[in-house]
């Protein structure tokens, strides 16, 4: 097929094209831009920015049982949220949860990725097996964990297994002393999300040039821990940073498993669950709930900025 073109008689001269073409092109591009991004921008404004603004506005009003209040209360809602103990307690719950789930998920997903990466056969099978739980909803998984795996009766899976070793039935979720509920909450999230982060690590592992390992071997590096520590881990730095950031964001968003596993408790409530109960749940206090949401948003911004500073995410040398 010929790739040469012939100049058409009706085609504008280069001078005309230089004058008219770009203008027309820009206009067309602009129109296309708005057609394709307009709906999403509208959605962003309507479903994100308006609610944020509305929430900020609500936080300064007495808004029990209404989202169109008229009684201005200043910072009362903020004072209420920061002094009632439930909200501040939820921040402690989040801290404990994040302190457990972030490093454990990081380690587990990296371990799974290393394992799958080194497999010589059935690689695709194991990759799928570990990734599949990601497709399961948190609600469904929580109910399975609650009703089957960690049920407190004798035919609950964990109690059955422990029963073989003479261990009495345990109420995993009902009794906060000892706090076995953390085992349930953490394990369900690990099961659900470790596979996803495994895929990220797997992709990063596949991007490490094999020449690095070959060179290290020539220089006398022993395979195993030494190679992992001095080559693999540094090469995964950017991915690890991203994974930690994503895990922390996901921890902040923790809701479903806590909500479904820990009904009618005063413990094990991360911020979103606490705000849900305050605003949408029994209290229906949209003013206080909004104040809590604003405080939480500010906190997340601060943590993100601090994390960026300490982990160096986004620094120029990250790309190198």
């Amino acid at each position: 097929m010929s790739t040469t073109t012939t100049r058409d008689a009706t085609r504008p001269s280069p001078a005309e094209a230089a004058e008219a073409g770009p203008r027309k092109g820009v206009r067309g591009s602009t129109l296309s831009f708005w057609i394709f991004t307009g709906p999403f921008l509208a959605g962003l404004v309507i479903f994100v920015y308006v609610p944020i603004g509305w929430s900020l506005w609500l936080s300064f009003f007495e808004a029990r049982y209404t989202v169109t209040p008229d009684t201005f209360v200043g910072f009362d809602n903020y004072r209420l949220m920061l002094t009632n103990g439930d909200f501040t307690g939820s921040l402690v719950t989040f801290t404990v949860f994040a302190a457990i789930i972030v490093p454990v998920t990081w380690a587990l997903s990296l371990g799974l990725a290393l394992m799958v990466h080194r497999l010589r056969f059935l690689k695709a099978f194991f990759r799928s097996v570990f990734f599949l739980p990601t497709a399961c909803s948190f609600v469904a998984a929580s109910l399975i964990w609650k009703m089957s795996v960690f049920s407190g009766v004798r035919f609950g899976l964990m109690n059955t297994v422990l029963g073989w070793f003479g261990v009495a039935n345990t109420a995993w979720l009902a009794d906060p002393n000892p706090p076995w509920y953390w085992l349930v909450v953490v394990s369900v999230r690990l099961w659900l999300q470790a596979g996803f982060y495994m895929i990220l690590f797997l992709a990063a592992l596949q991007n490490i040039p094999p020449e690095l390992y070959e060179a290290a071997a020539i220089d006398g590096a022993r395979p195993g821990w030494q190679t992992f520590r001095h080559i693999t881990l540094p090469q995964l730095r950017a991915t690890s940073t991203a994974v930690v950031l994503l895990l922390l964001v996901a921890a902040y968003q923790a809701f479903d498993e806590f909500f479904n596993l820990l009904a009618k408790t005063t413990w094990g409530r991360p911020p979103l669950v606490e705000l849900y109960y305050t605003a949408l749940g029994d209290d229906q206090d949209y003013g206080a709930g909004s104040a809590g949401a604003v405080v939480l948003t500010l906190l997340i911004c601060m943590v993100t900025l601090l994390q960026g500073r300490f982990l160096g995410f986004g620094r120029r040398d990250d790309s190198g």
Partner: protein, 421 residues
């Protein structure tokens, strides 16, 4: 067949397609599930909210009643899970709120103008209702909500297990704790109070000789006897004699039926299933007194139908409520007795309910009559939560009951001030 050339998708085509899709939008909306069947030009529509009942056939029954109504197309949202309250409360603030919904009488719904008074449709039959049901729905002389069913809650027990242990029916809270101890084996727990132990909250307070609020709408649950009863609960919780973390909660009969427990707190709705599984090996008794001089307690729960006062079809919704829950006695009887056992709030229907006239159902009705206590309309959802937190803190977490009650007082006082000034 040739594949469409990509050159066909110029800007005009894209615009035409976009415009076409936009034009199809309204048509698509007609066919979409908006939750409001029959809206717009195809006739009047109503939406009703029901929480998911556990008894088989209830969902079909509600839909069958709705279908039989000629005045409008009534669509039913059958809400599963434990978040019925949350979904209802949040939807009542939106344009997608239900026109009619079932719930319990609570003052905040009235104060915030979310439910309509129903005196006009109730007036002709008001005397036929259980007076306590009318009282529990009345504020400032107006009646809000039509009671559909009364649901007494008490203890169900396996007669054979108590006999084998040489036990009679517990007469005090201490005896109940003792029974739980003696009935517990390596396979069967002595007692099931629900997974989070809040289902007996009201009964515990009443059995300790207290009340949630007094006649002046002041805190009445914070007494020494209630604190002492909470300590007994704590001992029961730590003893290992309670069934905890069961797959289904107190409202489901499976814990007793599957032999996981010897005694279970449950509602009369579950009686048919229990009788079918256990035959005559089944008895009932009220929550035993937890303080000297106090009476046994039975909580008369139940559900009522309310009309959304801010809805678009208030008059039509009231018509529907009247048609179904006031005029159609057959449906009311079917709803109360066709699936689980509930006590019909209408005296005339209860009088003709042969299923409740003998045997264990009659014992249940007697407990309802002798010891039953009804909802207090001033005891709102936030207060319910505050008392639930007392049990979570003082019983399950081990906090001093006085401190837990003090914490609840702060929240309940705040709520009372909002409601009564």
């Amino acid at each position: 067949m040739s594949a469409p050339s990509s050159s066909n998708w110029d800007r005009r085509s894209v615009l035409r397609a976009t415009a076409g899709l936009a034009a199809l939008g309204p048509l698509a909306a007609c066919g979409g599930n908006t939750g409001r069947e029959g809206g717009g030009s195809s006739g009047k529509g109503l939406v009703q909210y029901f929480h998911a009942y556990g008894e088989a056939g209830t969902q079909e029954a509600v839909k069958r009643y709705a279908k039989a109504y000629d005045g409008a197309r009534v669509s039913t949202q059958w809400i599963t899970g434990t978040n019925f309250e949350s979904k209802l409360f949040s939807s009542l603030l939106t344009d997608n709120a239900p026109d009619v919904f079932e719930f319990h009488p609570q003052l905040q719904l009235i104060r915030s103008g979310q439910v309509a008074p129903l005196d006009d449709i109730l007036a002709p039959v008001k005397d036929d209702f259980n007076p306590a049901d009318i009282t529990s729905h009345t504020v400032d002389g107006k009646v809000y909500g039509v009671r559909m069913i009364d649901d007494p809650q008490f203890f169900f027990y396996r007669r054979s297990l108590l006999e084998k242990a040489g036990l009679g029916v517990p007469q005090t809270l201490d005896e109940l704790a003792e029974a739980a101890d003696k009935l517990t084996t390596d396979k069967v727990k002595g007692l099931f109070l629900g997974n989070n132990m809040v289902s007996t909250n009201y009964a515990l307070v009443w059995a300790a000789g207290a009340d949630q609020l007094n006649d002046r709408n002041e805190i009445a649950y914070h007494t020494d006897d209630v604190a002492a009863a909470l300590k007994t609960y704590r001992k029961m919780f730590t003893s290992g004699h309670l069934l905890l973390d069961a797959p289904a909660d107190y409202w489901d009969p499976s814990a007793l039926v599957q032999g996981l427990t010897a005694i279970q707190w449950c509602g009369m709705w579950a009686m048919p299933v229990m009788q079918k599984a256990l035959g005559d090996d089944l008895g009932v008794f009220p929550f035993p007194p937890a303080a000297s001089g106090a009476r046994p307690a039975v909580y008369n729960g139940g559900w009522s139908m309310f009309v959304n006062a801010k809805g678009k079809n208030v008059d039509l919704a009231k018509e529907y409520v009247k048609w179904l829950w006031i005029d159609r006695k057959k449906y009311q009887e079917d709803w109360a007795l066709g699936y689980g056992f509930h006590i019909p709030p209408r005296t005339s229907i209860a009088a003709s309910a042969t299923k409740l006239k003998s045997g264990l159902p009659a014992e249940g009705v007697k407990l309802f009559t002798d010891y039953g206590r009804f909802d207090n309309i001033s005891w709102t959802q936030a207060m319910i939560t505050a008392l639930e937190e007392v049990v979570a803190n003082a019983v399950r977490k081990g906090m001093d009951p006085e401190k837990a009650l003090d914490a609840a007082d702060v929240k309940v006082d705040r709520e009372l001030k909002k409601l009564f000034g």
